[in-house]
Assembly symmetry: C2
Homo-oligomer: 207 residues x 2
């Protein structure tokens, strides 16, 4: 009988089902959302519906870096102030936005849209690795930063990509692993402490 328990009129039931299918939304929240939409003006409900169809129709992947865009190339690739010789490889668009939020990266990106995962049956061909190799082969790239999650799948993917790229004579780096800024040695997990020790930074003597 879920989500609406059949009590609601069909059109309302249908809207609740749609909301309940969104990530992190339970039946109760979906009902609250649907009731809120019923309180909208017709114009506002129309705008909501249009936002869904528009996003689906207009948003596509950037031809250069696979970032999301509503044009041919994304805003990062279109920017004149970005260093095209420096490519930061991320697994997901959200990772790209996280790095952009930090506001100290001046290169461009490459979005893989996934990581290699035998468990979830995602192979190297299923993510955007080939276009990355093409970009590097096309020349002008001095460094590729692999900004993948420091977990098993992310590191396996990084390893796979670096094996493809190193023969091309490009510098390949990855993000540092260690204590998060503002973090706490006491509460850091064993793996983080292990990595932070391994990648410890020389303070003195100055090199």
């Amino acid at each position: 009988m879920r989500p609406g328990t059949g009590l609601f009129p069909e059109a309302l039931e249908r809207l609740i089902t749609q909301f309940a299918a969104l990530p992190g939304v339970g039946t109760k929240s979906a009902q609250r959302m649907a009731f809120r939409v019923l309180d909208y003006t017709p114009e506002r409900a129309e705008a909501f519906a249009n936002a869904i169809t528009d996003a689906k129709a207009l948003i596509r992947r950037c031809g250069v870096c696979q970032n999301l865009t509503d044009g041919e190339t994304c805003s990062v690739c279109a920017s004149e102030r970005r260093d095209r010789g420096l490519i930061c490889v991320v697994a997901d668009i959200r990772d790209l936005y996280a790095i952009e939020r930090a506001r100290n990266y001046g290169g461009v990106y490459h979005v893989l849209h996934g990581v290699i995962s035998p468990m979830r049956r995602i192979a190297a061909e299923d993510i955007a690795i080939a276009p990355l190799v093409e970009r590097v082969k096309a020349g002008g790239v001095t460094e590729v930063i692999l900004a993948l999650n420091p977990d098993t799948e992310g590191e396996a993917t990084a390893m796979y990509i670096s094996r493809l790229l190193t023969p091309l004579g490009v510098k390949v780096t990855r993000l540092a692993t260690g204590l998060p800024a503002g973090g706490n040695v006491e509460f850091a997990d064993d793996a983080t402490i292990f990595r932070a020790l391994q990648e410890r930074i020389l303070i003195y003597p100055y090199t």
Copy 2:
């Protein structure tokens, strides 16, 4: 710069803003929802958009009891098995569904769509009290159960309604207040214990 921090393409930004306007949805959740919709098939996104416009276009208030319906009268009022002489007055449609879920009420409803609240500038004329009085005046009603929340606004509204109805010679009742089923005397708040004591039920001697 919220919700999308301006990094997203406009069409995506617009969808995130729509989701973030829903109750209980923060920026991060709204982004997750928007990304999920981008992963939908075009058909599924279309179905979502249609669910919104359809719900807005088709759902209206029942001509008899103000419950939500996509027809002329709601499913409760249309049912032949309901006792039309017994009207349960609720503040909100969600209260109606909560009572329906309990599956032991056989009468019909009247949805006020709000309670009188001087604080939120909601007067008696702003909620569906007049149609309730008309229903009772039309005759055939033996009892009106006021199923409003046992809080200040709910009780003031119940008092107001009962003053209008008692001159019409109809029986007016309200829901019992006391310990919730499966509840706990130890953890009950003072007001609940006070009410449970006041409304204590005679067990012996049998009357």
